[in-house]
Amino acid sequence: MASSSSSSSTQVKKITLKAADGKHFEVEEPVAMEMETVKSFFVGNEDAMKDMVVPLLNVSSEHMPAILDFYRNHSEFRKRTPPPPAEEVKAFNEAFLENKSDEQLMEMIMAANFLNTKELLNFLTEAAANRIKNKSVEYVRAFFGIENDFTPEEEARIRAENEWAFDGLDED
């Protein structure tokens, strides 16, 4: 018993996650447990089932490395004393979003929603909000791929009433 506990302390237990396209990812247990969806998979069967492969039906393997990287870094940020300087967290977050297309961002939001992790979801939805800040209605429609279903008269009326909201926008 003593030997088994000492071996588990040096060797972090891993959990295997299976992305939507079948690819497997071996993840340290504390990182995997950042995901509520994975956590709830084991509720009531904490030990017995940890050798199982957890299927993540809505998460593409393309995004898994980045998402896991986010969990690893942010859980480390949370644990660290004293807390990391804001610049360090900001730098990580900015690097995380760099070169991510709008489409990739959307897919990651859906993934974070499926994985049920509040921190990542908050971070990504804020990133999406930042991308449509101070942009024209046309830009926002194109960004979300949404068709305008106002009649021209309705839209003209809304715009006239809220004219002040349409000043000084960024270039699309």
Partner: protein, 424 residues
């Protein structure tokens, strides 16, 4: 009033089809933003702190318009009022200093005729200060009302608009959706230019069967109406001076200056005093407010003292929670991770995380004194925040305490005129 900003509550109130968004068939993507669940869409919207951004999202398509209406942040409603010329420059810079100054000249030189009131009260827009982004927005008032109304805040992001001249037309106006509801004239409630506190039982946009309770600013008269009524009906049986009213768990309540709570019966138009153990108020000058927090009814007593330079200064607050079983008010010393905004027409509790830089367990209060009765130099001196646990005050007004760290949290420009909360 308490509002739950968690998205699931919004979703519960709406059928999914309300939010259906059309797909762009020409797109080659296999997944689209428009495939996003509506709670995800709301999460993105809620991160938009700036009013024009929210507005523009409301112009994207019909379904988004209804979503955008529900995610507005709390505001401070600013009135443009008289200031000394040099003060207005100090407080506002170029911000409306011209109209403020012209009013000031008219008013203090003594030529106080209707024309000078016009330059004060005949507003073309209302000024909202976003307490999340610290930006100021000028939202136009309806064209038909320009030039004859003054306004105050109600709740659910509605303004009360009151005609300056008799018979004092009263309306509710939502500056964001541009909806307007006409209420009975107030000629039997108002004699001269006076404040009128108006609350509704529900957001008129969501529940068209809402009812309205109006209180005269002196607190001696309470009246009731439903939309479509031709006149207000006076509520009989209320005793004392009405300090505040609230719609709580399906009923209107009113509290008087002694802390007596009355239930308003809208069937027979009477106020019935609830048999509660009276609060042992020491002899003191105070004002009572009613606030809802997590389904409980709170009474917040604001203790005041007279000062030499201002009309009144807040010295302390006591918060009580109504215990229906024991039929009494119980003093509480902690409101957890919440803030209370205390104001004339609109007191509310909100989870702290709804603000930037706002503090938990604090009461944010504004100067309730009527600016018209005071020298403008000291307007809003009694505006600040009070920590319920530490019992410490912070005074953002630069006139009060120059050493306070809180000075930067709200710009000094907003402390120039009578304020009100403009809130959900």
């Amino acid at each position: 009033m308490t509002i739950d900003y968690r998205t699931d509550k919004y979703i519960q109130n709406r059928s999914i089809s309300d939010f259906s968004v059309s797909l762009n068939n020409e797109s080659k993507r296999t997944t689209r933003w428009s495939d996003l669940d509506f709670d995800l869409l709301l999460m993105i919207f809620e991160k938009l702190l700036d009013l024009p951004d929210i507005y523009r999202c409301g112009t994207v398509c019909v379904s988004w318009q209804s979503v955008a209406k529900t995610i507005l942040p709390p505001f401070l409603l600013l009135s443009k009022v008289s200031l000394h010329a040099e003060e207005s420059d100090f407080f506002f810079g170029d911000f409306h200093s011209k109209s403020i100054n012209s009013f000031y000249c008219d008013f203090f030189v003594g030529d106080f005729d209707s024309k000078s009131i016009n330059s004060f009260y005949y507003e073309k827009s209302c000024t909202l200060f976003n307490i999340r982004t610290h930006k100021i927005h000028e939202v136009p008032l309806p064209e038909e009302e320009k030039g004859n109304i003054w306004y105050s805040s109600s709740g659910f992001w509605w303004l009360i608009t009151i005609g300056v001249e008799p018979p004092h037309e009263i309306g509710l106006f939502n500056p964001f959706t541009r909806d307007r509801i006409t209420l009975p004239r107030a000629s039997d409630l108002l004699k001269v230019r006076e404040e009128l506190r108006v609350i509704t039982s529900a957001n008129p946009l969501i529940d068209p069967k809402f009812s309205v309770l109006a209180t005269h600013s002196c607190g001696f008269k309470i009246a009731f109406c439903r939309p479509g009524d031709s006149s207000w009906t006076s509520i009989k049986g209320f005793q004392g001076i009405c300090n505040d009213t609230i719609f709580h768990k399906g009923e209107f309540f009113a509290v008087n200056h002694r802390g007596d709570l009355f239930r308003i019966n809208c069937g027979n138009f009477t106020a019935e005093k609830l048999a509660l153990r009276p609060i042992e108020f020491p002899w003191h000058w105070y004002c009572n407010y009613l606030v809802e927090l997590d389904g409980d009814l709170l009474l917040v007593a604001r203790w005041l003292e007279e000062t030499q330079i201002t009309c009144s200064k807040t010295t302390s607050f006591t918060v009580y929670k109504l215990n229906w079983v024991e039929k009494g008010w119980i003093k509480i010393k902690n409101i957890g991770d919440n803030s209370i905004l205390l104001g004339k027409n609109s007191s509310i509790s909100l989870p702290r995380n709804h603000f930037i830089n706002f503090e938990a367990n604090c009461i944010y209060f504004i100067d309730d004194a009527d600016g018209f009765n005071m020298t403008t130099k000291y307007l809003n001196m009694d505006t600040g925040l009070y920590n319920i646990v530490t019992r410490q005050f912070k005074w953002p007004s630069p006139n009060y305490n120059k050493e306070t760290e809180q000075l930067e949290k709200l710009p000094s420009s907003i402390w120039g005129g009578p304020l009100n909360w403009f809130i959900p």
